[in-house]
Assembly symmetry: C2
Homo-oligomer: 180 residues x 2
């Protein structure tokens, strides 16, 4: 047949691997980097964000007097939102890994990027406010005897760790959006 | 001459304007957007950042008891750094506007972007920590009679405004780096 002359059946480089079902859409696609949504690195980042946020939430909620300080109530709200957001995206990453497709659509990555930006900014601001209060109680007032200083410090540190794990997700998504 | 046939002397569209001395370097150049370093928008952003930071610094330093709270000392340090950084880049912008050249070099924009990221993160964290303390004094403890609540609030608000003016600079530089 003449067709086989024009399109030979042997493509040693361009042939798609048999185990990979992913079909790249030609327009509006993004490169697949570890840490991006739908990759194992991305799932690990989400898992870390979720774990640190949930530990921060539990430790802060275990103190009886956190509702008396506005910054600690704000921290509880912020890490709750962060843990819900990270859990949702961790589930989305697991799904993407199982069906072997990445999130390469511009609109989806833009949504993830905006959500990451909002939740990580909230978590960071709450962690900073709590750190200000914790340092005030512990160092400036020397009033740790009456307060749960170590629990406040642990919750604040875990919120900072959650923000630290959320930053790569945001920066990667933002960078891939800009360099589309 | 045959040269004038190949390169005619009349270029109605591509001719460089006589008043503009800027020569675009072909490789490693960036687009000129308002708000980027070297533009009037960029200078206005730097001026706003510097003004808000210096007002925040002055108001906080005018209170006699700010050194007793760690978060307020940190705010003074952060807005000092922010005002120095913004002043330097405002001067650089004025120079670029006067000689009519933009900062299109990748390395310079990367340096500006990293500096913006560091100073704006420091200013934001200091503003959040101060806001936590201010809300603690004003709302949770109701102790405004003994403290300079309004000055603390003004300094915190000005630091937030300075961060708000610094964000567009950082996002524009980061975006133009990624989409180079």
């Amino acid at each position: 047949m003449s067709m086989s002359m024009v399109h030979p059946s042997v493509h040693p480089i361009e042939a798609p691997p048999l185990t990979d079902h992913a079909i790249a859409i030609p327009r509006h696609t993004l490169k697949d980097t570890q840490g991006m949504p739908g990759t194992l690195g991305g799932f690990l980042l989400r898992f870390l964000q979720f774990s640190f946020a949930i530990v921060s939430l539990s430790v802060m909620a275990s103190t009886s007097d956190f509702p008396s300080v506005t910054a600690f109530r704000y921290l509880v709200a912020a890490v709750s939102l962060q843990s819900l957001w990270s859990l949702s995206l961790a589930v989305a990453d697991i799904y993407a890994i199982l069906v072997r497709r990445g999130y390469r659509n511009i609109r989806v990555v833009r949504l993830f990027s905006i959500g990451d930006g909002i939740t990580s900014t909230l978590t960071f601001s709450a962690a900073c406010a709590s750190a200000g209060i914790t340092v005030l109680i512990g160092n400036d007032l020397n009033d740790c005897a009456q307060n749960h200083c170590s629990r406040f410090e642990t919750a604040t540190a875990m919120a900072f760790m959650s923000w630290f794990a959320a930053s790569p997700s945001f920066i990667l998504n933002f960078w891939s959006l800009a360099s589309k």
